[in-house]
């Protein structure tokens, strides 16, 4: 009986109960039990539609368990546990409660069997997660949070519009694969696309995630975008346009990540790039590809959380994550360094780490279906991933130029959370069978074939080379420009020019577009404040005379209207 209660209720009840417990280590520890209960429930519940309730004229399915929702539900619970453990030392009740509710809403959305309940949880993730951004408490975080909230709620609104349209057309609210066929499904597609950070719809991600607290970003990175991946995999598998959208997503963040100095922002770009792989998998839509998407989401949540955790620990101890202000931290934060390297190796898909066993599925699926260009793009993107996430992050933080900072090692709970996450990353990389067993489709697959491993090592070596070149040639914003190298001068300059001008070009174009848009938005806001503010025409008290003039004018219009009706 207990196991058929939808997990969202566990989380809500859990949030209320933990609030009753006095603030302190007991409450923080008690919160850890909530996701554990969620995992226990998932392992015990049979597949099927469990809780159905009537709402208006429709039947809502709150708890649909099948293979796809099982994988995402499981990893969301695990991620919730790890983030809560990582944030164990936080004593702010708003952050605690909102973390629990946010995770609960995301899990609720995964198990929603119809579009109305999906919409409910979809909006709930937006309304709860924004508090994790605001928790930073700065003026900038407030504005960022507001922007984030508007975009997220806007996504929900589109989802609602699409749902309503679908209801009027088909009368059904089931959350199933309908394909991208008409306006209704297009609206829903865009709603998912916003949360999934499709190109041009992605800015909220890089805007919001680095703005959150050290612990908040870890929580944020796990749920919202992967929920969108789940929703796309559920409703739009095999929609070909997703392949091309995914390709753009894989490539364009690489340039931004390469020139970005704030390392948490680098991770946010790299998150976008990783989503690209999953989106491609959904677009291909074969069982192998969908398995790849699910597996990659599973692995990705873990290693991305691990990377954000290590950067969070650095932020916690030093107060910055700017590459130019860090360096040489391995001396005093050796454990954090090791965990960060594990995360970096996983995201770069080193064999024996989790990224390898999941990304391979998608790459093989692309090759099997004859998407050769896509396959090549994936290789290039993989180089980019290794370059910015695999090397840049650990190198500039823990090695590189010594910043002179000698912070303490991260707190024990952070270390424990990172240790558990690292173990999962390595464990899945060495022994992927348990993960493969719970994927949506039955597929025999062995990632450790000779060709595969060799190809991957070639890619990795090339990326390593690229990093060295960039680093030595001074493209990276570090001070060691005086060091000379033995490369051919023209080749060096050429490469450097191409890469810098490409990056700079994209950067300039991008900032001009944003500046232009900002200008337009800014002037709209200024003029609306002028007219609607407390001293404006619409926001202030008008005199009685002018009000009566309005009324007379309106009466005239009403008279004319009703006379012309006969």
């Amino acid at each position: 009986m207990l196991e058929t209660i939808p997990p969202i209720f566990w989380y809500i009840i859990g949030a209320v109960i933990t609030l009753i417990i006095p603030n302190g280590r007991f409450r923080a520890t008690a919160m850890l039990l909530i996701p554990l209960a969620g995992i226990w429930q998932l392992l015990n519940i049979p597949h099927g539609d469990h809780i159905q309730i009537d709402f208006l004229d429709y039947t809502l399915t709150l708890f649909r368990v099948d293979k796809l929702s099982f994988v995402f539900g499981l990893i969301f619970n695990i991620a919730a546990f790890l983030s809560l453990l990582y944030a164990w030392h936080v004593r702010d009740p708003i952050q605690q409660v909102m973390t629990v509710l946010y995770a609960g809403a995301a899990i609720g959305a995964v198990f929603a069997g119809d579009l109305i309940s999906l919409f409910i949880f979809w909006e709930a993730t937006a309304l709860t997660s924004v508090f994790l951004i605001w928790a930073r408490g700065t003026e900038g975080a407030y504005h960022t949070g507001m922007r984030y909230l508007i975009i997220q709620v806007g996504s929900g609104v589109l989802l609602l519009a699409g749902t309503l349209l679908l209801v009027t057309q088909t009368g059904s609210i089931a959350f199933i694969d309908r394909g991208l066929v008409d306006l209704a499904t297009l609206l829903i597609f865009i709603a998912f696309g916003i949360k999934c950070a499709f190109p041009l719809l992605h800015n909220w991600l890089q805007d919001a995630y680095p703005a959150s607290t050290a612990t908040g970003t870890v929580v944020l990175s796990a749920f919202t975008t992967k929920l969108a991946i789940y929703a796309l995999a559920r409703a739009y598998p095999g929609t070909e346009i997703l392949v091309y959208i995914g390709c753009v997503m894989m490539i364009f963040p690489v340039f931004f990540a390469a020139i970005e100095n704030n390392l948490r922002k680098v991770l946010a770009y790299s998150l976008n790039n990783q989503l690209g792989f999953m989106v491609v998998g959904i677009g291909i839509g074969t069982p192998l590809a969908l398995n790849g998407t699910a597996a990659h989401a599973f692995a990705h949540i873990l290693y991305k959380a691990l990377l954000f955790m290590s950067m969070g620990a650095v932020l916690h101890r030093t107060g910055t994550t700017k590459a130019s202000e860090l360096g040489g931290l391995y001396r005093t934060m050796p454990l954090t360094m090791i965990f960060c390297v594990v995360g970096a190796a996983s995201i770069s898909a080193f064999p024996l780490f989790s990224g390898f066993i999941s990304k391979s599925l998608i790459q093989s699926a692309a090759a099997n279906e004859g998407y050769m260009v896509v396959w090549v793009i994936m290789l290039i993107a993989s180089v980019g991933v290794l370059e910015h996430s695999g090397i840049k992050i650990p190198f500039f933080t823990f090695f590189g130029h010594d910043s002179g900072k000698r912070p303490k090692e991260a707190p024990w709970n952070m270390l424990l959370a990172m240790f558990l996450t690292s173990s999962l990353c390595i464990g899945l990389g060495i022994y992927p069978a348990p993960l493969y067993a719970i994927l949506p489709f039955e597929v025999e697959y062995d990632p450790y074939t000779t060709t595969h491993v060799v190809t991957q090592f070639q890619v990795l070596l090339f990326a390593l080379l690229a990093f060295c070149v960039l680093y030595r040639s001074g493209v990276y914003p570090v001070e060691i420009r005086a060091v000379n190298i033995d490369f051919d001068w023209i080749y060096r300059r050429g490469l450097r020019r191409i890469i810098s001008s490409l990056s700079r070009g994209i950067d300039t174009a991008y900032s001009q577009v944003t500046a232009g848009l900002n200008g337009i938005v800014g002037s709209i806001i200024a003029s609306s404040r002028r007219h609607f503010g407390p001293i404006g025409l619409f926001g202030s008290t008008t005199r009685v005379g002018s009000a009566v003039a309005w009324i007379s004018a309106l009466l005239l219009i009403a008279l004319v209207t009703s006379y012309s009706g006969s």
């Binding site: 709402f55 208006l56 708003i94 109305i116 919409f119 409910i120 909006e123 709930a124 309304l127 924004v130 508090f131 605001w134 928790a135 408490g137 407030y142 949070g145 507001m146 909230l149 508007i150 709620v153 806007g154 609104v157 589109l158 609602l160 519009a161 309503l164 349209l165 209801v167 009027t168 609306s528 404040r529 609607f532 503010g533 407390p534 404006g536 619409f538 926001g539 008290t541 008008t542 009685v544 009000a547 009566v548 309005w550 009324i551 309106l554 009466l555 219009i557 009403a558 008279l559 209207t561 009703s562 006379y563 012309s564 009706g565 006969s566």
Partner: protein
């Protein structure tokens, strides 16, 4: 007993009316309040009985003094006005337990007798407008409720002298509206010779091309449009709500405009009907554009307000836009949304203004800067604002969502895509002005010089939370409200010719 149950309709109005003069004789602060409380609860019980009776056995017609209509005054109760009666008396029944401390804090203690007298008269007027089946009687009760409402608003003068000008402005504009209404009724009377609403509907049918009927219609719609604060005739509303005592704002914001909407519905659908050419044109050329303007201009103005009562007053203008929009859609789903939103909006705004009253009790003025950091000191009050705010935005599992759902369905039924999009887009504006308060309360830093603030007393929190819980309860189990509203819409559109 059977005699009593036969006279239930008249008791609904007569009891508050007769208690009002009694109340003015009572001294002190506790007795007038107790009387008003007892009367409100009694009226609430009566309205429940009426609704049950109407739902079970159809319309009730009560002949005042046994004079048969159309010569005598008839009280006529059907599902729609039984529902509105329930809203008015229900809000009053919840607002009065809350009122004692709030009124004691905000209103001159020597004037409590008069204050509650005016309150009871206002209640009488609103109930009377709703229950009567006579057009001129509507005007009389409308004036009773309006005149007492001006007094109630002016009672805020002890807190802020601007209440006097707000009341005065409302008086001038309200009188203009009432005059328009009575001119319209007069024109109809001129050509039909009757004031009874059912009779009026019969006799107007052959006179659809009569200029006097059309002019009468225009006067009535504009007159009542002013009373219901239809944009751009809303200018009296923000100040009136801002400077009135908190309890008065709670009561008026939840009931007064709703009653005006009811009168508009009654004339649009019972007396006239969508089949009349000029009614359809009014929907399309007056209601539709004004409703959409109200949604956006009201919400945008709300975003920039610094006084929170004023902020929610502008939000009311926007919400009334939704109500009018539902009428303009002219189909069952749209009309269902309108009727639903009468109830749902009363719940939201009742809760929000009650919460602001709690804040006012503790810190005086309710400005956005004043409430910074208050979320931690008054957790229950601000949790209530967050809950009711979610409902205002239209988040699922709240009543706001149910209203918007039907409204959008109505727009889609007409294939008015842009309108459906505008409805959802305007919800985003509500997110901004509600979450702006939440952010200030929970993350803002307390202004200098504000000492520790205590949570509001339980006596005020309990009614407040009753309203908040109702926002969620009727958002999840919407069977009762949607069945009533659906029935009303079907009756109006079915018998609308």
């Amino acid at each position: 007993m059977s005699l009593l149950s036969e006279h239930i309709p008249v008791l609904q109005v007569a009891v508050p009316l007769l208690s009002a003069p009694l109340c003015s004789l009572l001294r002190g602060v506790r007795l007038p309040w107790l009387l008003a409380l007892a009367v409100s609860w009694f009226a609430f019980a009566i309205s429940i009985l009426l609704l049950i009776q109407v739902m079970d056995s159809g319309d009730i017609s009560y002949h005042m003094g046994n004079w048969a209509p159309p010569f005598g005054i008839e009280y006529r109760v059907d599902v729609i006005n039984a529902f509105v009666l329930l809203i008015i008396s229900g809000i009053s029944a919840v607002a009065l337990p809350y009122a004692r401390l709030s009124v004691a804090h905000e209103v001159d203690p020597r004037r409590h007798g008069q204050f509650y007298t005016a309150y009871l008269l206002c209640l009488t007027g609103l109930l009377g407008v709703t229950i009567t089946g006579d057009a001129f009687n509507i005007f009389v009760f409308l004036e009773i409720s309006s005149l007492s409402a001006y007094v109630l608003i002016a009672a805020g003068a002890r807190q802020d002298r601007r209440a006097l000008t707000a009341a005065y402005n409302y008086l001038v504009l309200g009188t203009v509206g009432a005059t328009f209404f009575v001119i319209g009724v007069g024109l109809l009377y001129m050509v039909t010779g009757t004031l009874n609403i059912a009779d009026l509907a019969e006799r107007i049918r052959p006179l659809a091309d009569n200029r006097a009927v059309q002019a009468g219609f225009a006067f009535i719609i504009i007159g009542m449009g002013l009373k219901l604060a239809m944009f751009p005739m809303h200018t009296w509303l923000p100040n009136a709500y801002t400077y009135a005592p908190s309890t008065v704002t709670v009561f008026l914001a939840s009931t007064a405009t709703k009653v005006s909407v009811y009168v508009v519905l009654r004339f649009l659908f019972t007396v006239f009907g969508p089949a009349y050419g000029f009614v359809g044109l009014t929907f399309e050329y007056i209601f539709l554009p004004l409703a959409i303007l109200a949604m956006f201009i009201g919400s945008t103005a709300a975003i920039y307000q610094t006084n929170l009562k004023r902020l929610f007053a502008y939000s009311s203008v926007a919400q009334l836009g939704y109500i009018v929009l539902g009428i303009a859609l002219g189909n069952i789903a749209g009309l269902t949304a309108t009727v639903l939103h009468l109830f749902n909006h009363a719940l939201m705004k009742g809760a929000l203004f009650m919460a602001l009253g709690c804040v006012a009790l503790r810190i005086g003025a309710v400005s956005i800067n004043g409430v910074r950091g208050l979320g931690r000191e008054m957790p229950w009050t601000f949790a209530a604002i967050a809950g009711a705010g979610l409902s205002l935005i239209g988040v699922p599992s709240t009543v706001g969502f149910i209203s918007k759902w039907y409204l959008i369905l109505g727009a889609l039924e007409n294939s008015w895509w842009p309108v459906a999009l505008l409805i959802v887009a305007s919800s985003l504006l509500a997110v901004i002005y509600v979450w702006k308060i939440i952010e200030a309360a929970y993350f803002g830093v307390a202004p200098e010089g504000r000492g520790p603030v205590a949570e509001a007393p339980l006596e005020m929190l309990a009614p407040l939370w009753l309203m908040v819980v109702a926002n969620f309860y009727f958002g999840i189990d919407a069977d009762l409200t949607t069945s009533v509203a659906g029935k009303v819409a079907a009756t109006f559109l079915g018998s609308g010719s």
